[in-house]
C-alpha cells in the first residue's frame, strides 16, 4: 500500500477513535475518581407551582427526581434514596449494627460510600465535637487562604477548651482541625475543613431544617457551616454552606459559624 494512503488511513482511524473515546469512557463503565452524590429529591414539582410527595408532575418532561441514583438506587437501608453512608466508631470501625439510633449508641464518624469522604459527627456531650461550638475562619496558608488569614480569635470562648493565653485552643477553623487531628478522630490525623463542594455533597435537598440525613448526621444545626473556600477576591469573606436549606452563602471571616471536618475522598485533588 502506498505510504501516503497508509498515513491518511491511519490518521482517519486515529481521529475517529479519539472522538469516540469520551463516549466510550462512560459507556464502558470507566471509573471516575470522584462521583457526585444525588440531591435526595424524590418528588416532583409542578409548573408553575406546587410540589408533590412522589415523583409526579403536571409536566411531561423529566426533572431531578426522574434521574440519577435517587431514581435507580432508591432504597433507604444505607441512607435516604441514592445516598450510601456507613457509621464508624471512634476507632474508625463500621458499627456492627448500622440501624442504631444516636441516642442508643453514638458513632464518631460517617463514611460516604459514593464520594469516599469521611465526616466528623457532631455531639451533644459538651466536648471537642459539640454541635453548638462555633469558630472564626482562619487559614495561615497563603496558597489557599485567598490572600488574607482571617481571624484567629475574634470571639473568645465560643468553643470547647478555650484558653485566652494558649493559641492552640483558639476557636478558629485551623486550630480546631489541629486539635481534632491531635486526638486522632476515628484513628485518622488528616482531618481538614471541607470545601464547599464537599459540604454540598452531603446535603439532602429533599428536606429542610436540616437539609441532611439526620439518621447519619445527627445534631446538625440548621445554619451555616464554614467551608475552606475564600469568596472570590473579597479577602474578608469565605464561603459557607447552609444546612438549613442546602444552598451556599458567604460571610465575614470574623463571624462565628459551625464546622464539620472531613477527610479522605478524591473530590478535589
Amino acid at each position: 500500500m502506498k505510504p501516503k494512503l497508509l498515513i491518511i488511513l491511519a490518521s482517519l482511524v486515529f481521529f475517529s477513535v479519539v472522538n469516540a473515546q469520551t463516549d466510550d469512557l462512560f459507556k464502558n463503565g470507566f471509573e471516575f475518581l470522584a462521583r457526585l452524590n444525588d440531591t435526595g429529591i424524590t418528588w416532583g414539582g409542578n409548573y408553575a407551582s406546587g410540589n408533590n410527595t412522589t415523583c409526579t408532575s403536571n409536566l411531561s418532561s423529566p426533572q431531578d427526581c426522574n434521574q440519577g441514583r435517587d431514581d435507580t438506587h432508591n432504597g433507604d437501608s444505607d441512607g435516604h434514596a441514592g445516598f450510601s453512608f456507613t457509621k464508624l466508631d471512634a476507632t474508625g470501625t463500621p458499627l456492627p449494627d448500622q440501624t442504631v439510633d444516636y441516642a442508643t449508641t453514638v458513632w464518631a464518624c460517617v463514611k460516604d460510600n459514593i464520594t469516599g469522604l469521611v465526616w466528623e459527627v457532631k455531639t451533644v456531650d459538651g466536648g471537642l465535637h459539640d454541635k453548638n461550638d462555633t469558630y472564626n475562619w482562619y487559614n495561615t496558608d497563603p496558597t489557599t487562604n485567598g490572600g488574607a488569614v482571617g481571624k484567629a480569635d475574634d470571639d473568645g470562648n465560643i468553643c470547647y477548651g478555650y484558653n485566652a493565653s494558649d493559641s492552640s485552643t483558639f476557636c478558629n477553623t485551623q486550630a480546631f482541625a489541629a486539635r481534632v487531628n491531635s486526638q486522632s478522630l476515628c484513628g485518622q490525623t488528616d482531618w481538614r475543613v471541607p470545601d464547599v463542594d464537599e459540604l454540598s455533597s452531603i446535603t439532602n435537598r429533599g428536606i429542610v431544617n436540616p437539609a441532611i440525613d439526620a439518621n447519619y448526621f445527627p445534631n446538625t444545626n440548621f445554619n451555616h457551616f464554614w467551608s475552606s473556600y475564600p469568596y472570590g477576591n473579597y479577602t474578608s469573606h469565605a464561603r459557607t454552606l447552609n444546612f438549613g436549606y442546602g444552598n451556599d452563602s458567604n460571610d465575614y471571616r470574623g463571624n462565628d459559624h459551625y464546622v464539620r471536618l472531613v477527610r479522605g475522598g478524591q473530590l478535589n485533588q
Partner: protein, 168 residues
C-alpha cells in the same frame, strides 16, 4: 462632537456590561484546562465527575460560543428543551440537577465562576437546574455564575440553560 459623545457612551456602557472575570491566585486551583476534554462536537467531558456538558450556553454556538445569543427560558421550557434536544446526535440530554450544576463552578474565579477557556462566553448570570425547592412550591434551584452561589427562583422566571448528559 455629538457623534463622539454617542460613541463614547456606547463604549462605556458596553465595557461595564462586559463583566471582567477575576482570578484569585491564592486559592486551590481544581479547575485547570487539563481537567476537561473539549470534543470537536462542542461537548465537554469533565473528567472529575464524568459529566458531559454542552460547551455553549443554550442559544450560543461555534467553537467560541459567540454565534447567536444566549437564551433564557422558564423552568418548564428548559426541562422540555433538554428532553427534546438532539445536539451532537445524542438524545439523552437533560437539565442538570443542582449538584451537577454546581460542579461547573470554578471557585478560583469570579464573574463568571467557571473555566472560560473551556466554557467560553458563559453569561455571568443564573442557570437552571432540574431540582425544585422543597420549601417553596413555586421555586426551583438555580446557580449563579456571577458569584458562585445557588438560590431558589420562581419557576416562571427566565433563566439561562446549559445541558448535560452522562455521569449517572
Amino acid at each position: 462632537m455629538k457623534n463622539s459623545l454617542i460613541i463614547l457612551t456606547v463604549l462605556i456602557i458596553s465595557n461595564s456590561a462586559l463583566a471582567q472575570q477575576t482570578f484569585n491566585p491564592n486559592t486551590i486551583h481544581n479547575w485547570e484546562n487539563s481537567r476537561y476534554i473539549i470534543n470537536t462536537n462542542d461537548t465537554v467531558l469533565d473528567k472529575k465527575t464524568g459529566l458531559i456538558w454542552k460547551k455553549c450556553a443554550q442559544g450560543l454556538s461555534d467553537s467560541t460560543c459567540t454565534t447567536g445569543s444566549a437564551t433564557t427560558l422558564n423552568w418548564q421550557q428548559a426541562l422540555s428543551l433538554a428532553n427534546n434536544s438532539t445536539f451532537a446526535g445524542f438524545s439523552d440530554w437533560r437539565l442538570p440537577n443542582i449538584k451537577e450544576l454546581r460542579s461547573l463552578a470554578a471557585y478560583d474565579r469570579f464573574s463568571p465562576v467557571i473555566n472560560s477557556d473551556v466554557f467560553p462566553n458563559t453569561p455571568v448570570s443564573f442557570f437552571w437546574s432540574s431540582s425544585p425547592v422543597v420549601s417553596s412550591i413555586s421555586d426551583s434551584w438555580r446557580f449563579g455564575f456571577n458569584n458562585g452561589r445557588d438560590n431558589g427562583s420562581f419557576r416562571s422566571n427566565s433563566v439561562y440553560v446549559r445541558l448535560v448528559r452522562g455521569g449517572q
